[in-house]
Symmetry: C2
């Protein structure tokens, strides 16, 4: 099976395989595209974190969303979860090798957004001035 995005001769969609099956980009986006996953990965790239530490590192996240976020990352194999059977309980989260292989990408995203944020904000302001009353936001 060949992959569209390796060929430059085609005009067909570049992120879909020849058989029409998604090669994974949708899976990645569905995970990283949510409100907290990237922020969690960035924080965990710094080292091991406990549940509470992670929550403090992600200002505004609810307990529920933190649980969902780390569970899904764990399910995808990006994060490992270690329970120490103490009282009170202590649970540590850590990036797996797979998770670490993502950090270059995530770092690049953070850097890009940091570098170009001003340009985007400016572009939006100009667009909004040129399109008063638009529903687009």
């Amino acid at each position: 099976m060949s992959v569209g995005h390796t060929a430059v001769t085609t005009r067909r969609p570049v992120v879909w395989c020849d058989d029409g099956v998604d090669c994974g980009i949708r899976d990645l986006l569905n995970r990283l595209g949510d409100r907290w996953s990237v922020l969690a990965v960035v924080e965990l790239a710094q080292g091991v974190r406990r549940f509470r530490e992670l929550q403090r590192a992600l200002p505004g996240i609810s307990q529920r969303m933190l649980t969902l976020t780390v569970r899904r990352l764990e399910r995808d194999g990006l994060v490992s979860r270690t329970v120490h059977p103490t009282v009170p309980p202590q649970v540590e989260y850590e990036l797996t090798p797979l998770g670490h292989s993502l950090t270059h990408l995530v770092r690049a995203m953070v850097d890009w957004s940091y570098s170009h944020h001003d340009a985007i904000v400016t572009s939006r302001r100009e667009w909004d001035e040129a399109n008063p009353g638009s529903e687009i936001r």
Copy 2:
């Protein structure tokens, strides 16, 4: 103003500036995190596309969502829109330099997800087997 992610000595959140203001990663994720923006950018990275071409390249997208997607990318300064006053109308979309500066990143995301999709699928299957009946998906 210093930025958290440039310092390794801090344990504070790395993607937030010292003053607590988001440095732009959220803006990027809010745009790229939606259902179609990345796919549109990847397709436009191949060259100029008309509205219909873009729609055909994004199987499943509705007319409404394509309009919203390209408008928002245009507003952010990632895509330019050129109207040729012909009958029938002809509108061409193209990445701006800012948009092109994103393609490395998007390409890297597509490559990463292509390389690691199998590992993720496997991890999910194993996790699901180890956690029967879980709500996490």
